[in-house]
Amino acid sequence: MSDQARKDTPQQAEFRDYCRDWLQQNRPAEPPVRLPLSPLEIMTNEQLDYLQTWQKSAYDAGLIGCDYPQAVGGGDRKDCQRIANEEMIRARTPFLPNVIGLGMAAPTVFYHGQQALKERLLPRLFSGEDIWCQGFSEPGAGSDLANVQTFAERSGDKWVINGHKVWTSLAHFAEWMILLLRTDKSHKYDGLSYFVVPIRAALGKGVTVRPLIKMTGETGFNEVIFDNLEVDDSYRLDELGKGWQVAMTTLLHERGAGELQTPRAGGMKSKSTHATNSANLIELARECVRDGKPAAADPLLRDRIMQQVIREAGLAQNQRRARVPALLDHPMRVQLQNKLLASEIAQDTAALALEVEGASASLYMGDEHAPAGGQWPLAYMNSYGMTIAAGTSEVQRNILGERVLGLPKSK
């Protein structure tokens, strides 16, 4: 019996058994195509089709949306999404493609949308039939999110939207977008409102989605232009001018600190999955040659590899300590470090891997001689996505300094 199973309520234990049986009998077939590392890097329709089929079957079996009420397409259970997640991860299923829908849009619509809207949107969100994307960032609103300028002007019982959103992952596949915009230019925070928008239906009719190419050469995220897009007032979440508060619900759930547990699956090994952690860095150092000897024999590189090993272990043990109140001086102190630490450790590990590779670090994914298929230069470049997205490392340090250490607020 696993540690988690030991603490289950009778209802949870029964549900866990059910999940386990279902997953055993319904293991998804091997993917016909190479899968990307995460949903945000889905590039082809073949990848998406395979993953959507899996999400739909998991939803139909009751493993997704477990804790939401039945009326909105949920499973009406209590604290059971966690159980389904643990079992899906244990079974090494593919990941769920509708990641923004499940993690951010669903709780936001659930807490702030009108009943009819929830009943209409959430079932197809849970099943993965409708992919969702998030329209928050703009060219002039990155770390300063409340500075969004996309504007909705009232026109009868409709709204007319004009503006420009960027870094919009999955927009090229998405039916729906959660959209933070401005309805009043005279108040920074209180002038914000929040909508859900059917962007796919409006392609070419007020919505343009253009891929943004990442520095790695990969696609995956987009810019979205609104040009006089008309939407119904029933697509507004919560009251006018409450957009910032609604956005906080979204961000709280994005950071895993919300009421509703996000459905999560994953762990299936695919050929393209190459973990870029310190254990793989050690393997790389054994293979790469430096001065006629394995790089793993170089005392300076050994020292720096150990620094990364220790930081990774520290992060893992932080997660463990976060659950021991007697060893925490401040309840949020350790949790709030996770994103910052994980992204910076990954970045430094990848940077060190390139040093270990030496001359061969110049070889990229298209080169047959590239160590580890060119994954390390890719990981190094992609690591900047992690230290910039969802609150840059600099913003994270402000949050930690102000909320945990109680230092004076910086402008």
């Binding site: 050690i282 054994r286 620094q307 090993v309 220790i310 992060l315 007697a326 230092l407």
Partner: protein, 375 residues
């Protein structure tokens, strides 16, 4: 083998940690430490080994020195995580006392089997002890000692002996005909001469000790095995002390930069000050998590003890260095003075960094474990 989710840090451990913090807050605020140890500022001063023996006696009476002593030797046999919690609080107060030295001796004696029992019983009865196992070079390899034993008598010298003037007993390693062996010696035995070192750290004393034909009680003929078994606990408790001291450095610096105004703002308003202090916090948290994980592994998963303890001490050494530098720097001009308390911890941390292996040494040992010899 599965370890406890909570490091095995239970209610008793939490109570001990809390009561230690309260005891030290009530009885030994930092101004008292400064008044006690910072009397003579001249760089050429001799260490005067000032300490509060009355408070120490209260700690002994509270049973803190027998916590780690196994129950069959009359001690409490508390798990290492609980002891680490206590030591973290002592580090936070930078309290000058021979607790760490006594704990170190306890862990080595406990690794000696039955022959360690008589000495452990003395510790359980309130005696303080320290390890005399380091050579003139200050080697961190436990096999290196400059003491020899012939015909049951010790000769030679031991160096970098911690808190030597605060203890009544010495646990000495010496080369004997049987190999590297351990001996139990009274600190005031005939032929023992304690020669104090003039050290930077004001919160500790340190000495080299000469042995001339000293009668000694043999404890173990297999010192190497006992020392190797005990070192992870020694590194881990020292790292706990350093984490506690670093937390003091962080909190007092945060307090200072929140009140001191320049350019019409408190210093902590500026990100050039705020962000490094956040980095100090992050490093402390990593080290602290690694300390409790190592302490748990030593009790619950011995196969991981060595590597986890190397990680804890390596991490704590880097954290101590960074926290010390930032605490003095962020205090600005006042931080550079003798009057400011920051230097007391700065010096204690520097001493701890080098004690029982610095960060690079522990990482090189860790690399031996995780990568191994590569031709």
């Amino acid at each position: 083998m599965a370890q406890s989710d909570n490091f095995g840090f239970g209610e008793e451990a939490a109570l001990l940690k809390e009561s230690a913090r309260k005891f030290l807050d009530d009885n030994f605020p930092t101004d008292r430490l400064h008044a006690l140890v910072a009397g003579d500022h001249t760089p050429e001063r001799m260490s005067d080994c000032a300490w509060e023996q009355g408070l120490w006696q209260q700690m002994v009476d509270l049973g803190w020195t027998m916590l780690a002593v196994p129950e069959d030797a009359g001690g409490v046999g508390m798990p290492l995580v609980a002891v680490a919690g206590l030591v973290e609080e002592l580090g936070r107060a930078a309290f000058p006392c021979p607790l760490m030295a006594t704990l170190n001796s306890t862990y080595v004696l406990a690794a000696c089997g039955d022959t360690g029992l008589p000495a452990l019983e003395e510790i359980a009865a309130g005696s303080a002890a320290t390890l005399a196992i380091t050579n003139r070079d200050g080697s961190w390899n436990v096999a290196d000692t400059d003491v020899h034993c012939r015909d049951g008598k010790l000769s030679g010298s031991a160096w970098y002996v911690q808190d030597a003037r605060k203890v009544s007993c010495l646990l000495v390693s010496a080369h004997s005909p049987a190999g590297l062996s351990l001996y139990w010696v009274a600190a005031d035995a005939p032929g023992v001469t304690i020669l104090p070192d003039a050290i930077v750290d004001l919160t500790r004393d340190q000495a080299h000790i000469s042995f001339e034909q000293v009668e000694a009680t043999p404890v173990s003929d297999n010192a190497l095995a006992a020392l190797h078994q005990a070192m992870p606990a020694i590194w881990t408790t020292l790292a706990a002390d350093m984490v506690g001291a670093a937390e003091w450095q962080l909190q007092t610096t945060v307090e200072y930069v929140s009140t001191r105004q320049q350019f019409d703002h408190p210093l902590g308003f500026f990100q050039a000050v705020k962000h490094p202090l956040v980095d100090v916090m992050i490093q402390i948290d990593q080290s602290k998590s690694l300390v409790y994980s190592a302490a748990c592994a030593i009790e619950e998963e011995p196969a991981r003890a060595l590597q986890d303890a190397h990680m804890a001490k390596a991490s704590a050494s880097d954290t101590a260095a960074y926290a010390s530098g930032r605490s003095v720097q962020c205090h600005g001009g006042i931080g550079f003075t003798w009057e400011c308390f920051a230097h007391l911890y700065f010096k204690r941390q520097k001493h701890s960094q080098m004690l029982w292996g610095d960060a690079a040494w522990h990482r090189s040992r860790l690399a031996q474990l995780l990568i191994g010899e590569v031709a």
